[in-house]
């Protein structure tokens, strides 16, 4: 029993990390039609910035502010980089540009910090005992903040006028602008938001395990998959899909008969299988509705 709970708890931590990536990808895609895959590298870079500041000052607040600053910088950089493709409706080029930008950042990190894994906190992490399971402090923060942030974002998207603007921009940019909304500003804002959410994940990973220049990649891929499986226009679907994709494999790995010898290295294989099944079963996203096309 406690084994089950413990696995669940651990998987929730990693799941939440993916979740924030999926949500950021969703937001950015919603306003700019771009899959901003560079988010992985951006998050990593932000985490390294936090790491540097923490080494020199040792203060969480200062480091967090510094990281926040960089998140905003990257938000605007992304905007400056990708806006043109949005304007020209060059989806593919935008994707490729984002991809290259990600590689660019990763190499930059490699040059500045070199590639060996960096732990922000040296030594063994303190764990909080919840009785049935134990979690590290960063783990708890990840789950807590992660879920909270997701709830806030989902609320804003689904229930507020901002959310309606956000959803309509993708539908018809010209129309929204004609309603007096500065859609360019909305986009730049969403880019920043995305960078902040993922940056938070990056820092948390640095605190919870370790930083490597390439750590963002698998997160962004899984987030990307969750985004599409959940349904690109449906944030609830994205959230559910994320947890399905990050929890089910863990249990397959830990509860399959040992004769099958499934282990952590099989994870992405199972992610694919599950994505496959979900897509076959719900081709247009988990909670898809059919809409009138003219």
């Amino acid at each position: 029993m406690s084994f089950f709970i413990q696995i669940l708890a651990n998987s929730l931590v990693t799941g939440t990390q993916v979740l924030l990536f999926a949500v950021s990808l969703y937001l950015i895609r919603a306003v700019s039609k771009t899959e901003h895959v560079a988010l992985g590298a951006i998050a990593t870079f932000i985490a390294y910035m936090f790491y540097v500041m923490f080494l020199s000052t040792g203060s969480f607040i200062v480091s967090s502010l510094f990281a926040l600053f960089w998140a905003i910088v990257f938000g605007y950089t992304s905007f400056a980089l990708l806006e043109k493709f949005y304007k020209n409706n060059d989806v593919l080029l935008g994707l490729l540009a984002s991809l290259s930008f990600g590689i660019f950042l990763e190499s930059l990190i490699g040059i500045i910090f070199e590639t060996d894994a960096k732990s922000i906190i040296d030594g063994v992490l303190p764990v909080i005992d919840f009785g049935l399971f134990k979690l590290t402090t960063p783990g708890v923060i990840t789950i807590g903040f992660g879920i909270l942030l997701t709830l806030i974002v989902s609320f804003v998207v689904l229930k507020t006028p901002y959310g309606r603007v956000l959803r309509s921009i993708n539908e018809n940019n010209a129309l929204v602008s004609s309603l007096g909304v500065n859609s360019a500003f909305v986009r730049s804002f969403v880019y920043c938001l995305g960078c902040i959410l993922t940056g938070f994940v990056g820092v948390m990973i640095g605190l919870n395990s370790a930083l490597t220049p390439y750590m963002g990649f698998q997160l962004v891929i899984t987030g990307f998959i969750a985004l599409f499986v959940g349904g690109v226009n449906d944030i609830r679907g994205v959230v559910v899909a994320t947890f399905l994709l990050s929890l089910i494999p863990e249990f397959l790995i830990n509860y399959s008969p040992s004769s099958l010898e499934f282990s952590a290295s099989h994870k992405m294989f199972f992610v694919f299988i599950i994505a496959f099944i979900l897509v076959m079963y719900r081709p247009n996203g988990l909670f898809s509705k059919s809409i009138r096309k003219s």
């Binding site: 084994f3 413990q6 696995i7 651990n10 998987s11 931590v13 990693t14 190499s107 490699g110 070199e114 590639t115 060996d116 894994a117 960096k118 732990s119 040296d122 030594g123 063994v124 992490l125 764990v127 134990k134 590290t136 990973i205 919870n208 395990s209 370790a210 490597t212 220049p213 390439y214 750590m215 990649f217 698998q218 863990e250 790995i253 830990n254 040992s258 010898e261 282990s263 952590a264 290295s265 994870k267």
Partner: protein
């Protein structure tokens, strides 16, 4: 579009210039193929530091027949196809006289080429048993995984239930395979994680839940090893009365910093570290003057140094000609920290390296009888 054309042409020109170098010019050039980008880049960086340190010593002592030895690096990314292109660039453009490949994948990929162009390749780190007999021009100063694997199995066979956690790299997997083959049913759980993974908590949970009385920690040395141990130490109560067994990963003293509680009493199976003064001095010299070495600390630092030293030695004894050097290596006794006295003969792995068993007592790795 013109842009492309200009670039394409200019590139060809550049290559043309490159190829104007000639071989056998009394200068000894050694090419190094190591991962300098991608996930394994750290090993490349550390390789570069260790070799730089060795090179400094060599050139200080006269280099190759009085002239300085040159090192030329290429990025092999631990991937076969990149290694092959790198190999050809080093041979055709830079006109190197010998090559030091890093990953087993790089060594195995260039093996056929070394034979066809008769280019000597000496690795210090490739431990994939496949290398035995791959090419008469390919040697490794690492021990074959089989060597450590056997004694490791012997140690583990003392227990009834064994759990294994391995990193997904050729060194660890090679070791894991040998152990699993010999132990068979005794292995209750064999967990494998990707080299890029940094959160091992679920795997750790699985180990703790397996009810094994011995756990074989089998990551690659360096950050992953430290991380794994750190995350296991978060709740050691799960591992009451479990015997930890491991390989080179936790042998260097500073790899055990902060996790002494876990490593205390750990059994480590690995080739004997040199107790010699000079060896320690050399290793420390690398770290202090050339940069951090964590993944390749200990045995591999010395093995890499040996690889280069022996190449230069062979060249000094004969000439900077691959074939001559190869003939020297197979026929004559080797020099260096680890290989001193032994000789390759008809083997591709440096012979005579057998495993020793250590036990961590009071933070010190003590050799067992």
């Amino acid at each position: 579009m013109r842009k492309y054309l200009v670039l394409a042409l200019s590139s060809l020109v550049v290559m043309g210039c490159g190829s104007s170098m000639v071989e056998g010019d009394g200068v000894l050039k050694v090419g190094v193929i190591a991962p300098l980008s991608g996930n394994a880049a750290q090993y490349g960086e550390e390789t570069q530091r260790i070799l730089a340190a060795t090179l400094a010593d060599i050139n200080a002592n006269g280099g190759y027949k009085g002239s300085d030895v040159e090192l030329i690096f290429e990025d092999g990314k631990c991937s076969g196809s990149d290694a092959v292109t790198a190999f050809q660039k080093l041979v055709d453009i830079d006109g190197v006289d010998a090559i030091i490949p890093f990953c087993s994948s790089e060594s195995l990929a260039i093996a056929p080429l070394t034979e066809s162009v008769q280019m000597l390749a000496v690795s210090a780190t490739s431990s994939n048993p496949e290398i035995e007999g791959a090419s008469p021009y390919l040697f490794s100063f690492s021990y074959s995984d089989a060597v450590i694997g056997e004694s490791m199995s012997k140690e583990l066979s003392k227990f009834d239930k064994v759990a294994i956690i391995s990193e997904q790299n050729d060194y660890s997997i090679g070791l894991k395979n040998t152990v699993e083959e010999t132990l068979g049913e005794k292995v209750v759980v064999s967990e494998t994680f990707e080299a890029t993974n940094t959160d091992f908590r679920n795997s750790i949970e699985k180990l703790a839940n397996s009810g094994a009385d011995a756990i074989f920690l089998n990551p690659f040395p360096g950050p992953n090893a430290t991380n794994l141990a750190k995350q296991m130490s978060e709740d050691l109560s799960k591992f009451e009365g479990v015997q930890f067994v491991s390989q080179i990963a936790y042998l260097p003293a500073d790899s055990r910093e902060g996790i002494s509680e876990l490593t205390e009493g750990m059994i480590i199976v690995d080739s004997p570290v040199l107790e010699s003064e000079e060896a320690t001095v050399f290793s420390n010299n690398v770290k202090t003057n050339f940069g951090e070495v964590s993944a390749l600390d200990g045995y591999y630092t010395l093995a890499l140094s040996d690889a280069l030293t022996n190449l230069v030695n062979a060249a000094n004894k004969t000439s900077d000609n691959s074939i001559a050097m190869q003939e020297y290596l197979v026929s004559s006794p080797l020099v260096g920290w680890l290989a001193e006295g032994s000789s390759f003969g008809d083997k591709n792995f440096v012979p005579g390296i057998e495993a020793a068993v250590f036990k961590i007592t009071d933070g010190e790795a003590i050799i067992q009888k």
